[in-house]
Symmetry: C2
Subunit: 474 residues, 2 copies
């Protein structure tokens, strides 16, 4: 259940009708890219608005907002900043409840822009219309096909429908992450680049996502927030709803804070205090975009690990040693396999192999041997997650057969598995295939894999303690 006041946000993601102000046929324009996006995936009605066209991409084009046949649920405004005030007034008059203003040229360019931005919001408030942006890429909803992300399709890929939501204060970084998430095979519910956040704030979006049926995981790139109390409250609500919130904060150091001021002009809070409060509110803080992608894969594809015991299964001793080091360095534990597991491993593996954790299958291990070992350790009660290392340079390792052999185990388990495969082009290509087919997160180094596991375990532990439940307000 979300508050009644949030129905306007519902229309950002799931409108029946969308008007595109500044729709265009001209190649390379934002107005054309948005139209193409909507015609590709959106199932509702689209009204292009542009005084210059009779039709846009085969649709009747309206000369003015006052000519629209009915009030659209959502308006997308893609026109120069100077013309936005008038357009907002007209949208208001028509009774539009929410608009995405992608136009740049507001607070981010200086004082004149800031004044224009204040005026924009003021005019929208006269009729109760809410605004996302300005200076943003807007919304991508993988389920409904709403898509205002206007980068060219050959270089900007977008994830398939899934359960991860991502909010970004930075448009360009958001787009890069969207692209990365897509390649990583992460399924997405909603993406929002909220830009200057002149009206709709990140905390309103988080609160909406906390109750959103399509979203199980919420992630966020943020440089600063206006209202710390509301922000933390929204995090607590998401936590109380059982949804992990993963945060990458821009401006974690004094120099970073200064860079934020010149980027978004956001008031970046003193970072340690901010991050401490954020963690207290149940969120996970990552230190880089790579880490963000890694932990999102784990959350989308598995239940969080229920404890700190890791089993390592490898066809190379050295890589196993590095994984053990990483496990201890991150504060996790090499699981003590039960006597029964060790005995069964001993029977299943060649005598030179190691049935103790890390389980060393030897360099000549075929996929069948992996299957036997993983099946045993994953069912050991002392094992909370499994780190699989495949050195694919070995002639015995057939990646296709590996997928076949693991499919069964994968479909039966919710216990997290991660795949570590260091190497070159062949390895990378096949590791990505394995990742996609089995939905097992792939990392090039054991250290990255273990860090992702640690972040996801911490979330589970925090949740089990459940301290933030009591703190939810409002």
């Amino acid at each position: 259940m979300y508050k009644l006041g949030q129905t306007y946000i519902e229309k950002l993601f799931n409108p029946g009708t969308i008007a595109v102000i500044g729709a265009s046929e001209k190649q390379g324009t934002v107005g054309r890219a948005i139209m193409e996006n909507l015609l590709r995936g959106f199932r509702g009605e689209v009204y292009p608005v542009n005084v210059k066209y009779e039709t846009v991409l085969g649709l009747k084009c309206y000369k003015g907002i006052d000519e629209l046949p009915k009030t659209p649920d959502l308006a997308v405004v893609a026109i120069p900043a100077a013309s936005t005030l008038k357009v907002v007034e007209e949208l208001c008059k028509l009774g539009v409840r929410v608009s995405i203003v992608v136009s740049a040229g507001f607070k981010e360019i200086g004082e004149d822009g800031a004044r224009l931005e204040i005026e924009l919001v003021k005019r929208a408030r006269t009729c109760g219309m809410r605004i996302l942006g300005p200076n943003c890429l807007g919304v991508y909803d993988a389920w409904t096909g709403v898509d205002t992300i206007f980068n060219p399709g050959d270089r900007q890929s977008k994830p398939t429908p899934g359960s991860v939501a991502f909010l970004s204060q930075s448009g360009a970084l958001g787009a890069a992450l969207l692209d990365w998430l897509s390649e990583a095979g992460i399924g997405m519910s909603k993406f929002v680049s909220y830009g200057n956040a002149a009206d709709i704030k990140e905390w309103e979006l988080i609160e909406y996502l906390a109750y959103d049926g399509e979203t199980r995981i919420i992630s966020l790139y943020v440089e600063g927030v206006d209202n710390g109390r509301e922000f933390l409250n929204s995090l607590r609500k998401a936590a109380a709803a059982g949804k992990p919130v993963v945060i990458l904060k821009g401006g974690r150091t004094p120099s970073g804070v200064r860079a934020v001021v010149s980027h978004t002009g956001a008031l970046s809070s003193p970072s340690e205090v901010f991050l401490y409060a954020v963690r207290q509110a149940g969120a996970i803080v990552v230190d880089s975009v790579s880490e963000m992608v890694g932990v999102l894969k784990l959350f989308e594809w598995f239940e969080p690990p229920k404890g700190r015991g890791i089993a390592i299964v490898t066809n190379g001793g050295g890589a196993g040693v590095l994984a053990v080091d990483a496990t201890e360095a991150e504060g996790l534990r090499i699981a003590n396999l039960s006597k029964e597991t060790i005995e069964s491993l001993r029977r299943a593996l060649p005598s030179a192999a190691s049935p103790l954790n890390p389980v060393d299958l030897l360099g000549d291990a075929p996929p069948e041997r992996y299957r036997a070992a993983i099946d045993l350790v994953i069912n050991d009660i002392n094992v909370d997650s499994v780190l699989i290392i495949t050195l694919m340079q070995s002639p015995a390792f057939d990646p296709h057969k590996f997928v076949e052999q693991l499919q069964d185990i994968r479909s039966r388990t919710t216990k997290p598995m991660v795949l570590v495969a260091p190497g070159g082009e062949y390895t990378e290509r096949h590791a990505k295939i394995i990742e996609r087919k089995l939905r097992i997160p792939y990392f090039k180094s054991p250290e990255e894999a273990v860090k992702a596991l640690r972040l996801s375990i911490e979330w589970f532990e925090k949740r089990a303690r459940g301290t933030y439940y009591k703190q939810v307000q409002g």
Copy 2:
């Protein structure tokens, strides 16, 4: 100058003639893979030895070692462990000075193997023959074509000739790294998987490489060393020769040390003490395979940065902020650009761009704008290295034109540059092209790029202080 006693090592890498004991025509055997490798790249003479064949891959095959027409400079032994003693005796009799024993089944399998290994070395010592291995992949010399790395060529790529040497105590991990270095476009001088190090020790190889004309950078995966004093001494010699030594240590934690014992049986020294001493001796310690690859690229392609001032040039503000955070977190510094540079940037860039560091070129920046900005900052005396961020989702960024625009600047500078490009398939593909053509190391996240710069800066600073020069002994 290397010691006279090291001439045997010279023959590991640059023999005129090689005998392959256990050469074979049979697909999938080690004996065949090694023969194929040698026929592909080695310019000297190869003598296959196997009682079963008249010829192997078109070469006359010898039934026994005693039939060889002359004493080979190097023998490669690829036969079952049980037969190695007799072969070593025969090689001794013939006067062979150095052999690579790739055969497994020695110390790594337990007590029986350990006894066999001691006996193997004892017999070789009777005639002064040196042995690399056993239980190893052996040698890959990119310059001479000596190549005993017997993984299949479709899944195991090998670097082109260059200046990075890599030594690995672990064969499988070494092979994975060899593959990874190759894909990263790093040029290699020599690769050695030295296995059980029954006779030839890692420190002898390091000492050899310290004086090797083809090697400028030495890297090493090591789990334990027999002789700490000699090991540290070899590191000091490499440092005194002006060559960075980059070390990845397996067994840095108590659990890791235990894992090492069951992997190579090496005596892993208490880690903090070991790593402290290693750093004191001028070496760089990395925490993961990824870090190793990153810092090796920097060392091969550039001079180390002469200081801690970084200039950041980006087409996205958010990614710039993250790079600033990483810079400060790693103890580096956002360079203060000179007034002249700032003034020139102001003239060269659009008014909405930021001419201050981080230099924000804006989302619509074409490669020409990158060129103008990079050319200015790289020539600023306050700038020691340049971190370039390209969000390639932007329609204005043409990666091919970027290569053209940067080629000039790249060819004129030895000041380090790194490329950060987060994103999906399109970005990865083009970033790899840029990396190869311009030899600018590519990282997906700013944090990884900054860490590589920090490691390389630390080496330079240590070298400038030059404390370890005085400590060189012997």
